[in-house]
Symmetry: C2
Subunit: 286 residues, 2 copies
C-alpha cells in the first residue's frame, strides 16, 4: 500500500537505511517525524494551523491538509515510527513539474543553537538565499515525449545569481527541453502557468497580501512548491498550476511582527516571475 | 555661518575632538565624509542617484537633495575636511519631532569584512532589527509647552519588542507628553501625522511600491526619518509630515534582485503604523 514517492525534488528521501516519506494511492503523504524538536515543532504547527479559525480559506488552500499523526512502518524497515499524515499535493498530477523554492534570506532564528545558526548562515551565504531572498532547492520537469525528464542536482539550482535564477524560472515553463543545454528556453508556457487569473503570480500575490498582515507565524526554512502538468497546459491551455507551502519544522510564533524575512523573499520571487511575464521572449544565456 | 545642528537624533555628532555634521542658515547640511570606503561609497551613491533618470520624481523627494562635495573647516577644528553638501531636511520645521528608524533585519552584506559582519550581526540580534526588521535609532519630540522636550537615549529605543515599538510609535504622535512615564499616550495626532492622503503611511506605501520593483540599489544600514511639527499639526490640522531616507554609506548595486531586506523591514514598519491608525485608542502599557 505505502510506497516511496515518485516525485520528490528536495528534502530527506527514503533509501537504504535512510528514513523518508511514503505515499499511498489515496492521496496521502506520510512524513516521518524527525526525532528532535523539529518533529514536535512541525506537529505543533500543523495542529495549531489546522484548528486556527483566523486563517482564511483562500490562504488555507496553499497549505497541505493535515490528517493527524500515526505510527507506521518506517521506509527504512526500522519498525514503527511516528509520521505526519498530510495531503499528497502532487497526487492530482500525472506528470508533475515541480520546483521547490526555500523562501527567506535567513533560514535561522535567534533562539536556535549557535551551531545551527552558524551552519544555516554559512549555507545562506553560499547559496542565493542571502542575495536573492530565496534558493531553489530542487526541481523536476517532464517534457512532452516520454523520454524527456530533467531533474538537476542541488548544486545546479541553489547558488544562482539573478540572471541564472531568471533563466531557470524560464526553463521551468518552456516547451522545449533546454535542460542543462544552451538551447534558449522559449517560455511558451509562461502565460498559462505563471500568468492568468488563476496562475502562479496571482497565487503568490494573494499569499503576499496575507504575509503583509499576519503576525501569527514566522516561517523559517519553509518552501514554496510550484506545481503544474505540462501536458495539461499544452492540451487545455489552462495550467492547473498550484503553489503549496511545505516544511514547517522551523515555524515560530510571530510575537506581534509580520514575517518580514519570508515576505521579503516572496516579493523577490514575485519580481522575477513578473519580469518573465512582462518579457517572456527575452534572450538570456548563461 | 556654520553651526552644529540643533536637531540630530542619531549618528556621529560633533563634539570636542569628534567630527560631526554642520548646517548653515540656508538649508544646507554638511556631512563630513568618513575617511574609509564609507565616505567614498556615500559620495558615489549620491552622484549616481542624483543623475539617474530612472528614479521617478515622486521617489526622489524622499531623498535629501545633493549639492556636491566641498572641503570645509571640520567641526572639531582639525582643519579642512571633505563634506557632502546636502539638503537640511529638518530646516523647514520650527520644532521638528524626529524619529530615525534603521530599516532592515540585516545591516551587513556578504562583501564586507568578517569583523564588520560579526559586529553588525551581533548588534542586529541585540536590537530589534532581527525580530522586527527595523530598529529605532533615536528620536526627539517637542511638546506644546516650551519646557516640553523628550529625547530618550538609544538604549531606550533600539531594542524594543513589538508591544514596546508600537507604544513608542504611539507616543511619537501623542499630544500628551508620555515620555518615559506611565501616562497612556493619547495618539491624538496619529490621524494627521500617520494618516491622511499625504501622511506618513501613504508616503511609506509609495516607497514600498518602488522597492517592490527597483533592482538598482540595495540599502544596508539606511534610515527612514519621520519628521513633523506638533504645533503645526495642532494649529492647522495638517501635518506637513515627511519621510526622508538618509545614510547611504552602505548602498550596494542591486544586481538584478530587489532589496528584499529593506522591503521586508519597511513592510513591518508599515504594519505597525497601520495598526495604530486602525486602533488609535488601544490601551497599551509596558
Amino acid at each position: 500500500m505505502l510506497k516511496v514517492p515518485d516525485h520528490q525534488v528536495a528534502g530527506h528521501q527514503a533509501s537504504d537505511g535512510v528514513i523518508g516519506p511514503l505515499v499511498d494511492d489515496s492521496g496521502h503523504f506520510y512524513k516521518p517525524l524527525q526525532n528532535d524538536e523539529r518533529g514536535s515543532n512541525e506537529v505543533a504547527f500543523y495542529k495549531s494551523f489546522s484548528s486556527d479559525a483566523c486563517i482564511p480559506a483562500h490562504i488555507r488552500r496553499y497549505f497541505p491538509i493535515f490528517y493527524g499523526t500515526k505510527d507506521i512502518e518506517a521506509s527504512d524497515g526500522s519498525g514503527l515510527h511516528p509520521h505526519l499524515i498530510l495531503e499528497d499535493v502532487v497526487s492530482i498530477y500525472q506528470k508533475p513539474s515541480i520546483m521547490d523554492i526555500k523562501i527567506g534570506s535567513r533560514t535561522w532564528y535567534t533562539q536556535a543553537s549557535d551551531d545551527y545558526i552558524e551552519k544555516c548562515l554559512k549555507k545562506d551565504r553560499e547559496t542565493s538565499s542571502l542575495s536573492l531572498g530565496f534558493r531553489i532547492s530542487g526541481l523536476q520537469m517532464f517534457g512532452t515525449k516520454d523520454s524527456e525528464f530533467w531533474k538537476p542536482g542541488k548544486k545546479l539550482t541553489q547558488s544562482l545569481n539573478s540572471d541564472e535564477a531568471k533563466l531557470l524560472l524560464r526553463k521551468f515553463v518552456s516547451s522545449n527541453m533546454p535542460a542543462d543545454s544552451d538551447v534558449c528556453p522559449d517560455s511558451a508556457l509562461a502565460s498559462n502557468v505563471y500568468g492568468g487569473p488563476a496562475g502562479v503570480l496571482e497565487q503568490l500575490l494573494e499569499l503576499k497580501a496575507w504575509f503583509e498582515n499576519q503576525t501569527i507565524y514566522h516561517f523559517y526554512s519553509c518552501s514554496i512548491l510550484i506545481l503544474y502538468d505540462k501536458e495539461a497546459v499544452l492540451k487545455e491551455r489552462s495550467s492547473g498550476a498550484l503553489i503549496k507551502l511545505v516544511d514547517f519544522a522551523h515555524v515560530l510564533e510571530g510575537r506581534g511582527a509580520i514575517d518580514h524575512n519570508f515576505l521579503g523573499g516572496l516579493c523577490s520571487l514575485i519580481k522575477f516571475i513578473s519580469e518573465i511575464l512582462t518579457s517572456p521572449k527575452e534572450d538570456l544565456h548563461l
